[in-house]
Amino acid sequence: MKITINVNGKTHVVKIESAEMLLDTLRRLGYKSVHRSCDSASCSSCTVLLDGNPVLSCCVFSATADGRFVETVEGLGSGEELHPIQKAFLEEGASQCGYCIPSLIMTTKALLAVEPDPTESEIREMLVGNICRCTGYEAQTRAVKKASRYLRGDEE
């Protein structure tokens, strides 16, 4: 079967297997920031935004994403300039091995879209599913806070 999905503003018409997962389709299309890790809805490394909401692409059938909007970390920034969330993560040293970072950044983007000024406990609650085995989440929590200030224009 064929589906049409819009990824980061670009429309793809793509042939898929009936039982194909969005994770596989996206990686096949070259969106390699979408990481496979647990493949069982536990780690959130495969998080993408589907119509603005973070979902686990390992558990979403591509067929059900037909006609919808997908965002991945490749869509952030301009290629030259980092997106404010990326910038904040970099500056706060929020990434070690980096494997979970694309999913954390996309979850952060969705969080800050609904809550531009989250408290620390709100940040921790929102990121609870994004499992990172390197850090203690301290730097990431700070990075989200800093990103929120960048996006609100409170800090240059």
């Binding site: 009936s18 039982a19 493949d39 069982s40 809805a41 536990s42 959130s44 998080t47 909401n53 973070p54 979902v55 686990l56 390992c58 558990c59 979403v60 059938f61 067929a63 059900t64 979850t107 969705a110 969080l111 929102m126 609870v128 599913g129 994004n130 499992i131």
Partner: protein, 280 residues
């Protein structure tokens, strides 16, 4: 995994698809996909209900609220009716998985999955939920307590599907939901406890401590009849513990689970101001 994904556009088409014995309904996929990958289930047909708009409705029925089968946890969290009228369900949902899981998973899926650890199921048991089932012989309704008959088992027969669940509004009850797990994030509970209280009336349910989520009906009647002053508190707690039958598994031992339930109940009801005015 070899199976065919079907995405019916109408409930009529859905019913056709479900005539196949090997078909399984997919709502959010947060349980089904995991079970399929681990080889626990191997349906030949997976039927998505994502295109059935009528199953996405939340409706106010006066004393009750009807929640369609495709309504996600996140949609419930955003619903004003639920926010105002079912604090217990929202408290339970907050404890479920993660944002990503809540964006896909559904309350009705939690019922269909019939896990004894179902957090939303526990809140719905307390809300005296009725399950609306559609099938080849027409519509039928069943209380959630009789619908779920064992771990992963319900009274659904071939061709039947859950169309919605109808819960009681419980905004005039004090409510409490406690989940004890091995960690805070993404955990399946070792034991969970839900309490609704209105004066001398109380409703209690326990998760992960029996083959299904259980209501402690006997203990509830004791509470109303005898109260929990003085020595009555210990008696009441023991009646609660009698209603559970925990097992040893990877998450905790049976003994520990009993102790957790006992300990939490003493904390909740042993409050100096006669039986837990901290139940809010």
């Amino acid at each position: 995994m070899t199976f065919k994904l079907m995405i019916p556009n109408t409930e009529g088409e859905l019913q056709q698809e479900l005539m196949d014995d090997e078909a399984r309904i997919l709502a959010g996929g947060t349980d089904l996909m995991v079970q399929m990958r681990s080889g626990k289930v191997a349906p030949t047909r997976v039927v998505s209900i994502k295109k059935l708009e009528r199953l996405k409705e939340i409706s106010d029925l006066g004393e009750r609220i009807r929640i369609g089968a495709a309504v996600t946890y996140s949609e419930l969290q955003r619903s004003h009716i639920l926010q105002e009228k079912s604090p217990i369900l929202l408290k339970a949902i907050r404890q479920i998985g993660s944002l990503q899981i809540r964006n896909r998973g559904t309350a009705v899926g939690n019922i269909a999955n019939a896990s004894p650890a179902g957090d939303a199921v526990l809140a719905m048991v307390l809300s005296e939920a009725r399950v609306e089932i559609m099938g080849p012989k027409g519509e039928r309704h069943e209380s959630i307590e009789s619908f779920i008959i064992g771990p992963g088992r319900t009274t659904l027969s071939t061709g039947e599907y859950i169309r919605a669940v109808v819960i009681e509004k419980t905004d005039d009850w004090q409510s409490l939901f406690i989940k004890v797990g091995q960690r805070n994030a993404m955990c399946i509970s070792v034991a969970s406890i839900g309490v609704l209280r209105k004066g001398k009336e109380v409703r209690l349910a326990f998760g992960s401590v029996a083959p299904v989520v259980v209501r402690a009906h006997k203990a509830e009647r004791f509470f109303t009849r005898e109260g929990i002053d003085g020595t009555k508190l210990g008696e009441f707690v023991e009646r609660c513990v009698e209603s559970i039958s925990p097992i040893d598994d990877v998450r905790a031992s049976s003994w520990y689970r009993r102790q957790v339930v006992r300990g939490e109940l003493m904390k909740i009801f042993g409050h100096p101001d006669v039986g837990g005015t901290d139940v809010t």
